[in-house]
Amino acid sequence: MESPPPPAPHGAPHRWQHPLAVVLVMAPILATTGLLDHFATAHRQELLRHSVVDRVSALRGRLEGMLQSDLLLTRALSALIASQPDLDQTAFTEIVTDLTKHQQLLRNVAAAPDLVVRMIHPLNGNEAALGLDYRNHPQQRFAALQAIESGQTVVDGPLPLIQGGVGLIARTPVFVATAQGPGTWGVVSAVIDVERLYRVSGLTAANTELRLGLRARHEHIAPPRMVFGDPEVFRLAPVTATVALPGVTWELAAIPTEGWHSSSWPSWLIRLGGIITALVTGGLLHLLLNSRQRRANSEAQLRALLDNLPDLVWLKDPHGVYLICNPRFESFFGAPEHEIVGRTDADFVAPEQARFFREKDQAALAAGRARRNDEWITFASDGHQELAETIKTPVYDGAGRLTGVLGIARNITERQRQQDEIRRLNAELESRVATRTEELAALNRELETFTYSVSHDLKAPLRGIDGYSQLLLEQHGAELSPEAATFIANIRRGVEQMRALIDDLLTYSRMERQVLTGRRVELGGVIEMVLAERHALIVERDIELEVDVSELTVRADPDGLQIILRNLVDNAIKFSRDATPRPRIRILARDQGRRVVMAISDNGIGFDMRFHDRLFEVFQRLHRAEDYPGTGVGLGIVHKAAQRMGARVWAESAPGHGATFYLELSR
């Protein structure tokens, strides 16, 4: 199999390549247009020239015909005079009338024997010309002599006439036979009305459709003299024709009124069409090049993206044939992209794995959406293995047709390893926690058993000591000294102290072990109950009591709250025993939004704030037991219960100024 060449490097085309291509396409179109225009113009000019030539020939023919007929007339007249040299005015008129009856152009005809005008026709209006001696006339003298010398008709003019107007004068010499041989009789002249000639010959009319020029070139006289029209015409490549007259040659020149090079609509059409074609072609080419360049740019960007992705990326057609892949994928197959493209998995990996890949492709195709799977893959490039998370997605073209399967495989080896490690650590931690929890539960059970035993087994002997002391006193009192009776009373006080201690310790331990519930408790009710328990003592001590808890409710464990309040009230009663003038206890509660703060204050002995924190520790006493009997556990219980209920307890005091205990509870 022939390998296709590696793809060309994807460089952006030079900046000027694109406009150059557009110019290269437009230029020949414009050139062709120019050429077409040129040929069309040339063809048109040819046609134009032909038509001008036709017109000029016709004009020339008519001019020449008319002039020749007049010249013929003067020659005929000359011949007649030669035969009758002695004719008079009357005969002359007769002859001329007869000869010119079909003539339109002749203004007059004169006969001048011996170069002096003697006869003229018509006489009427031309009398002034009679007696004119050509030999004495500066302008006509030369022409008249020339005719005689040449023996030919000589045409002169156009020139201003004595009678007025412009005329052309044809002079024909008349010779008569004498005894001495042929002799000169004189001259016959005919004046041709040039204006009329121009009009009748069609020259005047033609001059509106063509630009005409007419000039006369006299023999022996240069340069030619303009007689009609525009002298410019002769410099504009005119169509020319000559009218050869005796003694003078007329040159007729003509060009189209607009000149030879006037533009016409076909020419404009050709030019416009050419420009539009060039522009449209150039524009289309520009768009095409632009879109190709954009596509090339975006392909280059995609390619760069693909080449730099840390993942394996590939695209296969629906039949499993590779269409594209990136460098990471190349190292998986151990082959360059151009060898992979056009082949299938079976060409690179074991049949079993190829089948596996194919199954996953088909699963994605069947699902019509991305499918994910994890697999271990071995890189053919160096044999290392990676755990790959592969996502296969069917790819559709713009029209929704399936074009292939896109695959992306990410190396998740390290991630997997970390997850495994985390799982392992978690499992280890859980098992360790479970072990600890079990140990703690066992300890708790032991502690419970222990306190249970304390509750039963420590109390029973106390009851015995108390009971038998009393029985001793009752049944053998007579035999005992008063001192012995005192001893027995002390024993029983010790028992009472011991009982209180045991009860407090049990309460403390219960606060620590027991689950405290959070229930809605009405503060006023609990305080009322606690105070009722102490009613007798309060009356006995004459304590001034102030309670204001304004129907507040809190969230607390009822037992725990009761134990706290009982201890705080007991303390207040105990330490205000000797207050003057009388003991006073205040119990206030204040709503602070989400919390309720209670204050229990007395006017008792107070304490030094230095000992504040020690106050709430078990077995800590700030006063001697003889002065203020107690177990030293009460505030420890308060602290423990508050802690377990999520409440907070603290105190403010100064020695001799009473104490205030605060209890902050949730609502």
Binding site: H456, A460, R463, G464, L471, V495, R499, R510, D559
Partner: protein, 143 residues
């Protein structure tokens, strides 16, 4: 105050001191012949068997300590309540424990009363007097 002729009583108490005090408290009011004593759980269960077989009459009141060697008081109560003659006998639990847990368990198993033994001797005697007065004189058990 004298006890009614039919107030037979079973004391379940392992502690000799407590037993002595209880008997001292009760005997001025009850004929000692009406009082029988069991020193542990096994002994109580043996008596229950007799009651079931009809070989001994069941007592009309049982004072039950909870902390007993071997089978404890709560277990005794459970088995008693499962037996036919023991099902309805009034049981007053008399114990040193004032653990809420014990109180709850005793009532759950069908105790009729729960009394914590006071340590003070006079209060102890007073309590027993009141028990006797209420359960033997005022209260009417099912016959």
């Amino acid at each position: 105050m004298s006890a009614g002729p039919h107030c037979s009583m079973l004391l379940v108490e392992d502690d000799p001191v407590d037993l002595d005090f209880i008997l001292r408290a009760l005997t001025p009011h009850i004929d000692p012949d009406w009082i029988s004593v069991a020193r542990d759980g096994e002994e109580v269960l043996a008596r229950v068997e007799h009651w079931e077989r009809g070989t001994q009459p069941p007592p009309q009141l049982i004072l039950l300590d909870l902390k007993l060697p071997g089978i404890d008081g709560l277990e005794v109560l459970r088995r008693l309540r499962r037996s036919e003659p023991g099902r309805l006998i009034p049981v007053v639990v008399l114990t040193s424990s004032d653990e809420p847990r014990d109180i709850q368990a005793a009532y759950d198993l069908g105790a009729n009363s729960y009394v914590v033994k006071p340590i003070n001797y006079e209060r102890f005697l007073e309590g027993l007097h009141q028990i006797n007065r209420y359960w033997c004189c005022i209260n009417r058990p099912p016959s």
